[in-house]
């Protein structure tokens, strides 16, 4: 049967659904920025296309990993900070590329 850990907050079904949607949508945005930013630091390879192809192929995996971490991590604050930090680094790479 359903058991709640001592001290755990009681969330309504609507709040859980809202949090799940927020996690999935945020993960999509974060994964898109990481994919775009990864083209700036990944090596282009012999044919000059690896830095484009590899992040795009990896995008679905990055999205799913981010979504699961944001939604199900025990320490939500740490999870959001880690994912947002990784995204911020890639966003900075994209911004630096545009500026230069």
């Amino acid at each position: 049967m359903t058991r709640r850990l001592p001290g755990a907050p009681r969330w309504s079904r609507a709040r859980v659904a809202g949090y799940a949607l927020l996690s999935l949508a945020s993960a999509f945005v974060f994964a898109s920025i990481v994919t775009a930013g990864a083209t700036k630091w990944l090596p282009a390879g012999r044919a000059g296309i690896d830095h484009i192809m590899v992040p795009i192929v990896a995008f679905p995996v990055v999205w799913v990993v981010f979504a699961l971490v944001l939604y199900a991590a025990r320490r939500r604050g740490v999870a959001w900070a880690a994912v947002a930090g990784l995204t911020a680094i890639h966003a900075a790479l994209v911004a630096h590329g545009w500026a230069s």
Partner: protein, 544 residues
């Protein structure tokens, strides 16, 4: 409702994503399973309208065919030409230009179909790529299922995003399912309990899900990539790495071919012979002419070298002025690379062409297993609803029957409509097939609203079984050749397997409906506790 326990949270996510994914996902999985065999289905549907492959026509000259097709085509469209011939179809020239519209590259031009034997122009169509290259009536059967799988009957970009989301949701289901159910060797060997319908459905869902986990994960990953890459990611990467110039990005991805400064125009026929000779007699898949008739002209010949374990692809790039071979290049980039090989592997894995017909057949079986997995998941949810008259219970029942019975019924309806409409009208019959398919889904869903899932499935499976089993008899209306005539032709003897597949599918549905009507499963094991059938023991018994 919620706790900080990750496994319980993941279980909730698995259940709700599964329920929301079911309509979209089942449509994608089922049409994808049929689309795996689109080449065989197309050749079966085209058997009476076959046109000889240009490569097999004695004395065929590609330059003459190109000249005939290009007559009357505006000069600006003649710079970019795609030439291809699907088995049984006419030789097709697509003269086009690339235009950037609403942030995406659009190909617009004129498609010209030529009979390679007589060099007669059979059809000309203007428009964007999809519109201009729309199939003729007999070819509509396989293209309907391919388009259904890729675009879900929606506009192009919206359809790609929808299938991409379905792929992502499936990947999420695979990940959460693996974390929640934790498939172990012991669980993989465990036989499903037949004590009650609810136990059997729950155990089968876990068992099939565990065994097909690598396949569903692979298909979800590759499918999500293929959908999102074109619709979202490539335009995004073009913004970041190519200052928004998508044309420049695609030229980098395909690989620039450096050519001489000459102003001459090379003949295509010797290049065709050279490409075939270099690939040990391979079959030419496509010819792409770039900058043709202008500075920088080049031609790429894509040739498939047959092999028992999947074709080997070769791409030969020629100088469009001198006719000299510039290089043999991979599909992406000018030289072999990790990224190019990765994308090639992803495509081969998704389309089931990695080891030829062996992987195709395996993908077909596993695709049907994934459909069964999704339906069993819906059945679990239906069984747990105690308030059978509530709108939610009716909606889930309707969805279960609408998809479980509606998809085979829709396939049969689309097949019947293709055969009948093709015999009446030689044009594109895709719209009529779409209406028939959607009506079948709606009719099946309606039976689930009023009655039980069991009775709804029995009725729709009987209708679909009968319709599928007699489709081979009706098919000559569309294909223009009866089954006996085809079986007696040495080159078409293999079509007996497609006819047999329809009959077997129909009989299987009739047998399944008969067993379901008798009340399956019949054995009972009262000693098995009902809670054991759910991973977290939160399920409750209910009628199916």
């Amino acid at each position: 409702m919620s706790t900080h326990r990750p496994r319980r949270r993941l279980y909730g996510l698995h259940r709700w994503v599964g329920l929301l994914l079911a309509p979209l996902g089942l449509l994608v999985f089922f049409s994808g399973t049929v689309a795996t065999f689109h080449e065989e289905l197309d050749a079966w549907a085209m058997r009476g309208h076959r046109i000889a492959p240009a490569q097999d026509v004695p004395g065929f000259d590609l330059d003459d065919a190109h000249r005939v097709a290009a007559a009357g085509v505006p000069r600006e469209l003649r710079r970019q030409v795609d030439i291809s011939q699907q088995p049984g179809h006419p030789l097709r020239f697509f003269f086009h230009v690339h235009e950037q519209r609403d942030g995406a590259i659009v190909e617009r031009g004129v498609a010209v179909d030529v009979d390679p034997t007589t060099l007669e122009v059979l059809r000309r169509r203007l428009g964007e790529r999809g519109e201009a290259l729309a199939p003729s009536a007999p070819g509509s059967l396989s293209s309907f299922f391919v388009d259904l799988h890729i675009f879900l009957l929606m506009p192009e970009t919206l359809g790609l995003i929808a299938t991409g989301i379905a792929g992502f949701a499936l990947l999420l289901l695979v990940a959460t399912g693996a974390l929640v159910h934790r498939p172990t060797l012991r669980r993989l060997r465990r036989r499903p309990r037949t004590g009650s319908a609810r136990q059997l459905v729950g155990d089968l869902h876990t068992l099939i899900g565990s065994w097909t986990l690598p396949f569903t994960g692979l298909l979800a990953l590759t499918g999500s990539f293929l959908s999102f890459a074109g619709a979202v990611l490539l335009p995004l990467v073009a913004q970041v790495a190519f200052e928004g110039d998508q044309e420049a990005m695609f030229r980098t991805l395909i690989g620039r071919v450096e050519v001489s400064d000459s102003r001459d125009e090379a003949s295509l026929a010797p290049l065709l012979d050279d490409a075939v000779a270099r690939s040990s007699g391979g079959r030419v898949q496509f010819v792409a002419l770039d900058q043709w008739g202008e500075e920088g002209a080049n031609a790429t010949f894509g040739v498939a070298e047959p092999s028992p374990f999947g074709d080997t692809s070769h791409h030969y790039a020629y100088d469009g002025h001198t006719g000299a071979l510039v290089r043999e290049k991979p599909a992406f980039g000018v030289r072999p690379s990790f990224g190019g090989s990765l994308v090639d592997l992803v495509a081969r894995l998704h389309f089931g062409t990695l080891f030829g017909l062996v992987t195709k057949a395996l993908w077909g079986v596993l695709g049907l297993a994934t459909c069964a997995l999704a339906l069993l998941g819906l059945a679990i949810f239906t069984a747990r609803r105690r308030d059978r008259r509530s709108p939610a219970a009716r909606a889930v029942r309707s969805m279960t029957v609408g998809l479980g019975g509606g998809l085979p019924l829709g396939t049969a309806s689309a097949g019947w409509t293709w055969a009948i409409a093709s015999s009446l009208d030689g044009g594109d019959v895709t719209d009529a097939m779409t209406v028939a398919f959607l009506l079948a889904l709606a009719a099946a869903a309606a039976t689930g609203v009023s009655g039980s899932v069991r009775s709804g499935l029995v009725r729709t499976w009987i209708a679909a079984g009968v319709a599928l089993a007699i489709l081979p008899v009706l098919a000559p209306l569309g294909s223009g050749m009866g089954p006996f005539e085809a079986w007696s032709d040495r080159t078409l003897r293999w079509t007996v397997w497609v006819d047999a597949a329809f009959v077997v599918a129909g009989v299987a549905l009739l047998v399944g409906s008969s067993r379901l009507a008798r009340g399956w499963p019949r054995r009972r094991h009262p000693e098995v506790a009902p809670e054991e059938s759910t991973p977290l023991g939160v399920g409750r018994a209910g009628p199916l």
